[in-house]
């Protein structure tokens, strides 16, 4: 990636534009230039960072290294915000809430797990309907597969419940194929 600062704004490009207009003139076949720095274009250096726990700053010009880059900042998982709550009698009080609500984050995971489990179970639901309507036995292999899915949901729910930090919740992944 490359970037240029123009009128105080940094514009980024995946590669040089094929046409470019600046105070030197209007350039066509611009990708063929041999020295992009002559036109104010410099490389963008993106530092490595943990996309769950860190975030990048606004892009800025690093004059010492002659590159456009970012700083890496840790996300404050303990951050809070305050809301004003009004009761039935019109009394206003301030309530402090966590930006990262652990219970809500866990609930989102469980909701996603149950949705995935339902998608996995639904192709064989007709066995259950057939048994209810006609009394036809469900094959043992199907029963075993469906039990495996339900057991996995129970195991994941237990794992999620045991998570204690926002970071561990955000980084939690699951896989029904384990």
């Amino acid at each position: 990636m490359i970037a240029i600062e123009k009128s105080g704004t940094i514009q980024t490009f995946t590669r040089l534009p094929n046409e470019w207009n600046d105070d030197k003139g209007y350039h066509i076949n611009f990708r063929k230039i041999t020295n992009k720095e002559d036109y104010g274009f410099y490389n963008v250096v993106t530092p490595e960072y943990d996309q769950v726990t860190q975030q990048l700053s606004q892009i800025f010009w690093d004059a010492d290294n002659k590159v456009f880059t970012y700083t890496v900042n840790n996300i404050d998982f303990d951050a809070t915000y305050t809301i004003e709550v009004e009761d039935e009698e019109g009394n206003k009080t301030e309530e402090t809430k966590s930006v990262y609500d652990k219970d809500k984050l866990k609930a989102n995971i469980i909701s996603s797990v149950k949705k995935d489990a339902n998608n996995l179970l639904s192709p064989t639901d007709w066995y259950s309907s057939r048994k209810t309507e006609l009394g036809t036995a469900i094959p043992d292999s199907i029963l075993a597969d469906r039990k495996k899915i339900r057991d996995k949901v129970i195991a994941i729910e237990a794992e999620v419940a045991a998570l204690t930090t926002v970071e561990s919740i955000l980084k939690y992944t699951y896989n029904f194929n384990d």
Partner: protein
């Protein structure tokens, strides 16, 4: 008495033939440098050998010039240039037409061999 001035009433309609036009309307010139003198020819040709910055001389509003350019290099046109249509293709010959629409304003279209 010598004739010093020709008025339009002297010329009959359709009397100015191609042969009577100046070289700026009829000639083709192979550019050796990067300065394009609009009085010199109607058509200019050049094979680029590196990044090229063109300049204009004697360009007047309403004039149209044709350039046949080849060579896969960056080209810089004078400030005030606007591309109307087309993309330069360095692998073939490109016909570039430039119209001067106002002082310091040039509209440019690019077409190429099919």
């Amino acid at each position: 008495m010598a004739i010093t001035k020709v008025t339009s009433s002297v010329l009959s309609d359709d009397s100015v033939s191609y042969d009577k036009l100046g070289v700026e309307f009829t000639a083709s010139s192979a550019l050796s440098g990067t300065a394009i003198d609009w009085d010199v020819a109607q058509v200019f040709t050049k094979t680029l050998s590196g990044a090229t910055t063109f300049t204009y001389a004697n360009d007047e509003i309403g004039m149209v010039k044709d350039l046949v350019l080849t060579g896969d290099y960056a080209i810089t046109w004078p400030s005030g240039t606007k591309i109307i249509t087309g993309t330069y293709d360095g692998s073939v010959a490109n016909l570039i037409q430039v119209v001067k629409t106002a002082a310091g304003q040039y509209w440019l279209s690019i077409s190429k061999e099919a």
